[in-house]
C-alpha cells in the first residue's frame, strides 16, 4: 500500500510546484531551441576561441584563445565596423520610433479611412530590403526622379548624392523599419484606455499635459519594446548596406565583416568571433533599454508588453 501511494504522492507534490504532464508539451520547443539555437551559439562561441590554423590571424597573432578577438580589436578596418553599424542603426531606429509616436497618436481615434491609411503605411513591409535598395538607386540616384525634380525646381545646381553612401542605407532602414515600428506603436497606443485621457481633459489638462503625463508614461514600456525589435533589424543591416551603401567605406557594417570572414576568407573562427562581438554589442544596447524599461510603470491600464 505504501509503495502504491508513494508515486502518487510525488506526482501531487510536483504538481503543487507546477510540474506535471502538461509541461511535456514544452519539450519539443525546448529541444528545438537548444538544438538549433543554443548549440550553434555555443559552438560558435567555442569556435571563436580556437583560431583557424593557417589563417592570417594565426600568422599574426598566434594560436592563443583570444587571437581572433585581438585581431578584431587591433585592426581599425574591423574595429571601426562597430561604430559604423551603431552610427547607422541607432539614428535609424530612433527616427522610426520617434516618428511613429505622433503618427500613431493621430491614427488611433476613429475616423473615416483609418483602416486604409493604416494599410498603406504598412505596405512598405512587403517591399523587402532588396527592392527598397533597387528602388532607392532608381529614384534617388543621380538621374532619378528626385534629383530631376530638384534640378528642375532650381533648388540644387547639381544632383544630390543620396545613394551609395550613408544616406542611402539610412533611407532604406527607415522605409523598411518605420512600418513595423508604426504597427507596434499603434497597437500599444490603442491598448491605452481613452477614458484616462478624457478624465484628465475634464480636469482641465491641455493636450501636451495629457500626452506628457498620461499617454507617454503608459506608452513608454511599449516604446522600449518597439525600439528593441527595430534595433535588431537595423543592427543586422546587410543587403542594403551592400547595395545602396558604400560597402568598402562609410557603410562597412559589422555583418559585412562577418560575412567576409566566413564566406570569402573561409576563416570560420574569425567569423564566429565577429558574430559574437556583434551579438554582445547589440545585447548591450538592448540591455540598457530594457533595464530602463524595468523601472517604468507597467500596470493594467495600458502598459502592455
Amino acid at each position: 500500500m505504501v509503495s502504491a501511494a508513494a508515486p502518487t504522492l510525488l506526482r501531487h507534490r510536483l504538481a503543487e510546484r507546477g510540474l506535471d504532464r502538461t509541461l511535456l508539451l514544452l519539450l519539443p520547443a525546448v529541444v528545438f531551441v537548444v538544438a538549433l539555437f543554443v548549440y550553434p551559439f555555443l559552438y560558435g562561441l567555442q569556435l571563436s576561441f580556437q583560431p583557424q590554423p593557417g589563417s592570417q590571424v594565426v600568422q599574426r597573432y598566434g594560436t592563443g584563445p583570444f587571437a581572433d578577438y585581438r585581431a578584431f580589436f587591433s585592426d581599425p578596418y574591423l574595429r571601426n565596423t562597430i561604430w559604423t553599424t551603431l552610427k547607422i542603426s541607432l539614428p535609424a531606429t530612433l527616427i522610426n520610433v520617434l516618428a511613429s509616436v505622433p503618427i500613431a497618436y493621430r491614427m488611433r481615434g476613429r475616423f473615416r479611412g483609418r483602416r486604409t491609411i493604416t494599410t498603406i503605411l504598412v505596405v512598405p513591409i512587403t517591399l523587402g530590403t532588396v527592392l527598397t535598395a533597387e528602388g532607392l538607386i532608381a529614384f534617388m540616384g543621380p538621374t532619378g526622379w528626385l534629383n530631376k525634380l530638384l534640378l528642375t525646381a532650381g533648388l540644387v545646381d547639381q544632383p544630390v548624392r543620396l545613394t551609395h553612401n550613408y544616406w542611402g542605407v539610412l533611407f532604406s532602414l527607415v522605409i523598411t523599419g518605420f512600418p513595423v515600428a508604426f504597427l507596434l506603436t499603434l497597437s500599444y497606443l490603442t491598448g491605452i484606455d481613452p477614458s484616462l485621457e478624457q478624465a484628465a481633459a475634464t480636469l482641465g489638462a491641455g493636450w501636451w499635459q495629457r500626452f506628457r503625463h498620461i499617454t507617454l508614461p503608459l506608452l513608454a514600456p511599449g516604446l522600449a519594446i518597439t525600439f528593441c525589435l527595430n534595433f535588431v533589424l537595423s543592427f543586422s543591416v546587410f543587403p542594403s548596406a551592400i547595395m545602396v551603401g558604400d560597402p568598402a567605406g562609410s557603410t562597412r557594417v559589422i555583418s559585412i565583416a562577418a560575412f567576409h570572414a566566413a564566406f570569402e576568407q573561409y576563416d570560420y573562427a574569425m567569423a564566429a568571433a565577429i558574430a559574437m562581438i556583434m551579438g554582445a554589442v547589440e545585447l548591450a544596447v538592448i540591455g540598457v533599454v530594457l533595464g530602463w524599461r524595468s523601472r517604468l510603470y507597467r500596470g493594467s491600464t495600458g502598459g502592455k508588453g
Binding site: L23, L25, V34, P124, E197, A262, A272
Partner: protein, 285 residues
C-alpha cells in the same frame, strides 16, 4: 457605453488635439508615402521600359523583361522552393510552438523565466549573429545548401515567434472551459482537438500568416544557408542584383516587381485575418 455618449467627447478631443503639429504629422506621412511611391514606381516603370536613360520616362514600353527574367532565373523553380520552405516553416513552427505556448500560458513552474528568456533570444539577437554559427553547424552535418537546412534555419526565429503570439492568446481563453470538458469525460486528445483547437484557430491563423510573410521576406538566414537549388525568391533577387553587370537592369527590376507582388498578395491576405492594431494588445476596437 452607448455610441452617442462615446462619440461626443471623442469629437471634442480631436478638435483640441488637431491644432498643434497636426499639419506637421500629415506632412511627414505624405512625404514618407511619396518617397515609398517613388521607390516602387521607379522599379515598376523600369521593369516595363525598353530603355530608360536620363529622361522623365523611358523611351518605350515592353513586357519582354518578365518573360526573360522568368526563364533566365528559373523563377518557377525558385517560387516552388519559396512555397515549400514557407509552408514547411509554418506547419512545423505551429506544431512545435502551440503546445509550448499552451504549457507556458497555463502553468507557472520553477525556471519559467529562464525558459522564456531562451525563447526570446532568437528574436532579440540579430539573425546574422546566430546565422553564421548556425550555417557552420549545418555545414558540419551536411545540411547547409539543402532545402531541409533552409527550413531548419528559418524555423529558428519562427518557433519563438509562434510562442510569443500564442501565449497571450491562450491566456485569454477561460481555463474553466477545459475543466468543464474534463468533467464531461474528455481526455487530453479530444480536449485539444475538439475543445481547444477550434478556439485557437483565429490565433493560429494570425501567427501562420505573420510567419508566412516573415519567412518569404527573411533574407539573412536563407542567404547564409541556401545552396544553388534551395534559394528563395528574396535570395535569388539579391544574387541577380549582384550579377547585374551581365543582366539587363530591367530583368532585375521585373523580378523585384514579381517579389513585391507576391509579398503584397500575402500581406493583403494577412490583413484580412489579422487586425494590425491588435498585434500585441487585444482591446476592443
Amino acid at each position: 457605453m452607448t455610441a452617442t455618449l462615446e462619440s461626443a467627447p471623442t469629437r471634442e478631443r480631436r478638435r483640441i488635439t488637431l491644432r498643434p503639429g497636426g499639419w506637421f504629422v500629415w506632412a511627414a506621412v505624405i512625404f514618407f508615402l511619396l518617397v515609398v511611391a517613388g521607390v516602387v514606381f521607379a522599379v515598376l516603370v523600369d521593369s516595363f521600359a525598353t530603355n530608360w536613360f536620363g529622361g522623365w520616362l523611358p523611351a518605350g514600353w515592353t513586357t519582354h523583361w518578365y518573360g526573360a527574367t522568368w526563364h533566365e532565373f528559373a523563377l518557377a523553380d525558385v517560387l516552388l522552393v519559396t512555397l515549400e520552405v514557407a509552408a514547411a516553416v509554418v506547419v512545423i513552427s505551429l506544431l512545435i510552438g502551440v503546445p509550448a505556448a499552451y504549457a507556458l500560458a497555463r502553468r507557472t513552474f520553477w525556471g519559467k523565466r529562464a525558459v522564456l528568456v531562451v525563447f526570446l533570444l532568437p528574436i532579440l539577437i540579430p539573425p546574422f549573429t546566430y546565422g553564421v554559427p548556425l550555417a557552420t553547424v549545418l555545414y558540419k552535418f551536411h545540411l547547409a545548401g539543402t532545402l531541409a537546412g533552409v527550413i531548419l534555419a528559418n524555423l529558428v526565429p519562427a518557433v519563438p515567434f509562434v510562442i510569443l503570439v500564442m501565449t497571450p492568446f491562450i491566456e485569454q481563453i477561460d481555463p474553466k472551459i477545459e475543466s468543464a470538458a474534463r468533467m464531461c469525460g474528455a481526455g487530453t486528445g479530444p480536449l485539444f482537438l475538439r475543445v481547444l483547437g477550434p478556439l485557437l484557430i483565429p490565433g493560429m491563423l494570425a501567427s501562420a500568416v505573420l510567419i508566412l510573410v516573415r519567412t518569404v521576406g527573411m533574407f539573412e538566414l536563407t542567404f547564409l544557408t541556401a545552396g544553388p537549388d534551395s534559394q528563395t525568391l528574396v535570395v535569388a533577387l539579391y544574387y541577380s542584383v549582384s550579377a547585374a553587370g551581365i543582366r539587363a537592369q530591367q530583368e532585375v527590376d521585373a523580378m523585384a516587381v514579381i517579389y513585391t507582388g507576391s509579398m503584397l498578395a500575402l500581406l493583403i491576405i494577412a490583413l484580412r485575418f489579422v487586425n494590425p492594431t491588435q498585434l500585441v494588445t487585444r482591446v476592443g476596437d
